[in-house]
């Protein structure tokens, strides 16, 4: 088990804030898991791209109400 889990709630935020918050979490954590909550396709794509480019494994789950849960792991 890894206790390094950071939750970033980026719902309702416009560009580029979801990516900025995720980037901050990446710098803070170095390794572990980051769970990003987003509600737009743009934020989902941008956060996923940032995660992959930074060497994290990225999984995206669409939530029933139409938002996204993006999990970055390293």
């Amino acid at each position: 088990m890894n206790n390094n889990i950071e939750i970033v709630d980026a719902r309702g935020l416009s560009c580029p804030q979801p990516v900025m918050l995720t980037s901050k979490a990446i710098k803070k954590l170095n390794k572990g898991a980051i769970e990003v909550l987003a509600d737009s396709g743009v934020a989902r794509d941008n956060v996923s791209r940032l995660g992959k480019n930074s060497g994290w494994a990225v999984t995206v789950e669409e939530q029933p109400e139409g938002s996204y849960r993006i999990v970055l792991k390293k």
């Binding site: 950071e6 309702g12 580029p16 980037s23 509600d39 737009s40 794509d45 941008n46």
Partner: protein, 371 residues
Amino acid sequence: MSTILRFLTSRWGPIITGTVVGVLAPVLVMLGNPGNMGICVVCFTRDIAGALGLQRAGTVQYIRPEIIGFVLGALVAALAFKEFKPRTGSAPLVRFLLGMFAVFGALVFLGCPWRAYLRLAGGDWNAIFGILGLVAGIGLGIVFLRMGFSLGRSRPAPKAVGWVMPAIMVTLLVFLIVAPQFGRDANGNPTGPIFFSTTGPGSQHAPLLISLAVGLFIGFLAQRSRFCTVGAVRDMIMLKDSHLLNGVIALIVVAFITNFALGQFHPGFASQPVAQTNEWWNFGGMALAGLAFTLAGGCPGRQLFLAGEGDGDSAMFVGGMLVGAGFAHNFSIASSAAGPSAFGPITVIVGLVICVIIGLTMREAVATAKA
């Protein structure tokens, strides 16, 4: 087909969109749009403001189908890919103000970021100062973003909210086709309510259906690829991410090649179409525009695409652009070929001060909780 559509959300998406704009914008000029103005979101919004009588500069009045197409094309893409998500509540009035000041700045330069790149690709070297100003404005915006600037969160809204801007665009299309006229004044001039220029840039336009089709196509592509002419520079400076910038570079390179092939490349500073040569205010105007666009989250095209996705806050920004475009001519802010107008420079300074105040004061405590 689905492979192509998937391609649009990959790193090739912005490049494909930029390439399409780079070909079609010069073609629109060949078909009748003003020089180096195949696409200019701000100029076209200004023309629409003129057509609606919000400003009465007789040479810049036309309902530009490209703008209608941008919103409706993005709407179609958003509906097709389940991204039509009506939302609002992120400081709409501040966004309205940012839309106004973005237009003031852009009309001092005489073009939005889209046209700045297209002017460069047509050999208008005045665009260099505009683009430098744009980068400076975006840089200043990034400083505020790093300091924690935020316009706050939007919230999901009823479906009807998302349909308002598309409905306005359909109404504009009806006005364009029907062009209602209530009569003429004593001098024989039309009294409106819809005005179309008979001389000047407003009278120059490609055929309606072609302009509309190009707008729809670009709107569709840009919604999928997230194409943004301001985000391109912002992401490169702030995140070292060239994803969007590749699209802008593709736009400039392809537009240059297309202009060259069509005999529309005319290098120089003087006598460029719908341009002025004052380098200081070309820089200053676009610095204001770059700052306002960055604080609002994207370029004017992007605001239209977002409005097509149901974003009521971007729709407010577009509303600000439309009203601002009216003011820009009524208050002698927009430049002419002769240079900056009487109140252009002071408006840029006031606009910068107001945008800096917005940049310094808009904050949100964002939750980043440790689980």
